[in-house]
Amino acid sequence: MNDIKVKVNDLSLRYGTNPALKNISMNIPEKQVTAFIGPSGCGKSTFLRTLNRMNDLIDNVTIEGEVLIDNINIYDKNIDVVNLRKKVGMIFQKSNPFAKSIYENIAFGPRINGINQKSKLDEIVEVSLRQAAIWDEVKDRLFNSALSLSGGQQQRICIARTLAVNPDIILMDEPASALDPISTSKIEELIHELKTQYTIIIVTHNMQQAARTSDYTAFFYMGDLVEMNTTEKIFSNPSKKQTEDYISGRFG
């Protein structure tokens, strides 16, 4: 296993009184793709959002346990959540570009970090769009609204926007669930290329996608982490019956 980037110890989360995550512990390796699978409502998104403290925005959430990123507990009192989110970027299920131009979408992150120099911004925009493998498609219309693009292109704009902040970890919550097969395969290709530089955690309902793109897979069921292992092992020889049933499509 590679170095451990994220270490989760005994994490529990409740929405009001409803437990959504129960005593989760896991290690997520650096510069690898880790997939979260499990039936709807089992807590995958909730867990993903604990990794960049997006759940802080929801009222009435109680969290216990710890999440260590680079050996720092992100639920510590002294943590700067704003900077944490610069390190841990997030791609959402529904692509959500701002109602601004493509260029301004990508430049948003650098700008809020105080970069206003035109040449520097131009460079970041180009590099990020190239990294997200969408540069060729949009280079002639950088100043058109990002909302004028197709769903798949919008999602890659969102990825480029996240890359422009240069995070260490990228969280993706079903990034391709709303996309057609061609766009989906483009995103998968992209994930494959990005993992040389980023630690990627992806939630997916698509077993083939998990098998194709990830190195490690974690299976969740009703707020529990049932099993986590290399993707190969999970898909060929799972140690738990529930995992096997789920993967072979016998419930859900």
Binding site: I72, D76, D80, N113, V127, A164, N166
Partner: protein
């Protein structure tokens, strides 16, 4: 492709200045400052309400402690009067007479609070009397007439739009009725003065052209959009399942409307009517223009009346700053303020209840 990326990556430095660390909370001045400013400005709304309380009451307060000498000195100190009309000079003269009088004898009008309960509103005379009874009675009469006219018609119209109307009709009717809210009250007052007064006089044949009936109907017009909109809201927020269950049991649309939807929406409708009362009670311009403005003690709807708010509107521009009459007008203002404040609190309370019920029903 991969080669490209590696080249790019090596060329690109972190776009984020310095090394991002998150293990220590960073103080961000602009965020801190923005939040403080925003909170402070938001507090302004509360401050304004409190200031209104303080300043309206402050100016009213003297009538409770003013004996005649204080009243006199305060009048002598401040001699400017307010308002743009030519008539004010004569008024000031009358005031002066009144002043001399109260200096010389022990007129019953000397202590203003003692005349507040009398039956005569005669603030500008040798022996000023500030009896609020005719004003109260007038306001009550007009409010009642306005309410009897506006409440049923608005509630029925709301039932039509939310229960009987087809969606397409509803889309048109609702904004058209809400258009009425956009008429300035001075326009409604003008309409009442020019048209309603004449039409009603022809129909009912009463003596004084402007009276509580004309004023009441006109004020009802101002209250219709409020009662209508809020009632409509209350009716449409009754859960669909109620209606469907009732219709499914074989009840007609009318039965469903009256025995299922209406009872469930009662608190909301109540709130609508209460806010409508508040609007009528405080309406000034229509009262000034259409009620005749005679402070009489009478229960005949076709007699002229003078409402509390119209009294303020008509007389404030002509009083002497700080004198008894001035304070009494502010005292009337305080009463209006307390009353509408209470009405609002009441509606708010019921409204809250209604919303809570609505959500409980949804679950």
């Amino acid at each position: 492709m991969i080669k490209d990326l590696i080249r790019i990556k090596s060329k690109m430095q972190s776009p984020v200045k310095g090394i991002v660390t998150f293990n220590k909370k960073k103080f961000r001045f602009s965020d801190w400052f923005a939040e403080k400013v925003i909170k402070a400005v938001a507090f302004l709304s509360i401050a304004i309400v409190i200031l209104i309380f303080i300043f309206v009451f402050r100016e009213a307060f003297p009538i409770f402690k003013m004996d005649k000498t204080e009243a006199v000195t305060s009048e002598l100190l401040v001699q400017e009067s307010y308002g743009g009309t030519e008539t004010e000079n004569t008024n000031v003269k009358i005031k002066d007479n009144q002043l001399d009088n109260s200096n010389n004898n022990e007129a019953p009008g000397a202590k203003p609070s003692s005349t507040l309960l009398s039956k005569t509103w005669m603030p500008v005379s040798d022996n000023p009397r500030y009896g609020l009874l005719p004003l109260f009675l007038g306001t009550l009469k007009v409010t009642l007439i306005a309410l009897l006219f506006a409440a049923p018609i608005s509630i029925l119209a709301a039932i039509y739009t939310s229960v009987f109307a087809k969606p397409r009709v509803r889309e048109i009717v609702k904004p058209v009725i809400e258009l009425l809210a956009g008429f300035p009250s001075v326009v409604i007052g003008f309409f009442a003065l020019m048209v309603l007064a004449t039409v009603f006089q022809n129909i009912f044949g009463y003596a004084s052209r402007l009276n509580s009936f004309v004023g009441g109907i006109a004020m009802g017009l101002a209250a219709i959009p409020i009662i209508y909109t809020l009632t409509e809201d209350a009716l449409t927020s009754v859960p669909r399942t109620y209606t469907e269950a009732s219709l499914g049991l074989g009840a007609s649309r009318r039965q469903t409307a009256f025995f299922v939807v209406l009872p469930a929406a009662v608190p909301g409708i109540f709130a609508a009517v209460v806010l409508g009362i508040g609007r009528i009670f405080g309406e000034t311009m229509i009262a000034l223009m259409a009620t005749g403005n005679a402070a009489m003690v009478s229960i005949n709807p076709f007699d002229s009346v003078r409402t509390l708010s119209a009294t303020i509107g008509a007389e404030m521009a002509e009083v002497v700053f700080g004198d008894t009459h001035y304070s009494v007008l502010f005292f009337i203002g305080s009463l209006l303020f307390i009353f509408t404040f209470a009405m609002n609190a009441l509606a708010e309370f019921y409204f809250k209840n209604r919303i809570i019920r609505h959500y409980q029903a949804k679950k």
